[in-house]
Subunit: 177 residues, 2 copies
């Protein structure tokens, strides 16, 4: 211990962002856990507020996840009483997922948890610094072609998440993750 002068990667943006982001994600999940909500469930619920009655397929498309994985997620949320499945009148194959009052309350509860989480992350940063950080992150998010509010982990976990710019066809993927 007390050995190397922190390798160069440790202060690089790719690692730093991944490191801090992973922690922020853990924090996010940990703060939501007492309410019994997973981050991805909250994503669905949040996407449901205001425009209730979207089908599972529409939700899956909006969040960038596969419809198969949406089934179990809706199951849990319906069991928790946050949403309900209603047969669509236009398309009797589809279910309209409607937010229940309890679900709306939950979204409000989670939303109320965000400011304290911000405080935990911001620490001693000045309001100006905080705003600058958010602004810079939004720019980086745009550079990385991220859709606002859509978390990359909802998509395929590690499957061709980022196409290499120079490598021709990196479909080998025999490597780990």
């Amino acid at each position: 211990m007390s050995d190397l002068p922190a390798a160069s990667y440790a202060t690089s943006l790719p690692f730093l962002l991944s490191q801090v982001g992973a922690r922020a994600g853990q924090l996010f999940a940990a703060r939501l856990a007492p309410l019994g909500v997973s981050p991805r469930a909250f994503g669905v619920l949040s996407n449901l507020t205001g425009t209730s009655g979207r089908t599972q397929q529409q939700l899956a498309d909006a969040l960038g996840m596969h419809r198969n994985n949406m089934v179990g997620l809706i199951d849990e949320m319906e069991a928790a009483g946050w949403v309900r499945r209603h047969r669509s009148a236009q398309d009797r194959r589809a279910f309209e997922i409607r937010l229940t009052p309890a679900g709306a309350v939950l979204v409000d509860q989670v939303t109320a948890l965000i400011p304290p989480m911000e405080a935990e992350i911001v620490g001693d940063l000045t309001p100006d610094d905080r705003h600058a950080l958010v602004d810079l992150l939004v720019q980086v998010a745009a550079t990385l072609q991220l859709d606002p509010g859509i978390h990359p982990h909802l998509r395929a976990r590690s499957r061709s998440a980022c196409a290499a710019p120079d490598s021709p066809a990196s479909d080998s993927t025999d490597s780990r993750n």
Copy 2:
């Protein structure tokens, strides 16, 4: 589509950091993949440069991961020819993990990949903005009590990663996740 004005969480620091960080992690892994290295393997290799001859337990402690998971990781890296196990003279239970020349070359290769990755993330940001972002992230990392160069995902995945500040004893964890 073209529906809600991006929910408030989407521009919050917890989500934004997690979102951008997840993408950065995917990018990091994707760029390392052509070399056949996983991010965690690189973490071990990087920790080995300069102070070669650390035992698996020391490496596990340094990176915050469990020694059981280190076994397979060292297996892969030894099979790849990046490291070799040597019986420790002081402690014949332990293996000294020594970096091979090929392993040192690999670390250099990965290090050379970082600047292009930075460019992908930085985008059109000015050098001043980039430096400001790194500086702010370092401060946030310190606030979150992150050790430089140690990625949270090497530790327990989502198990009590962040102790709640207000909740007394959240070991219930009967909730999904």
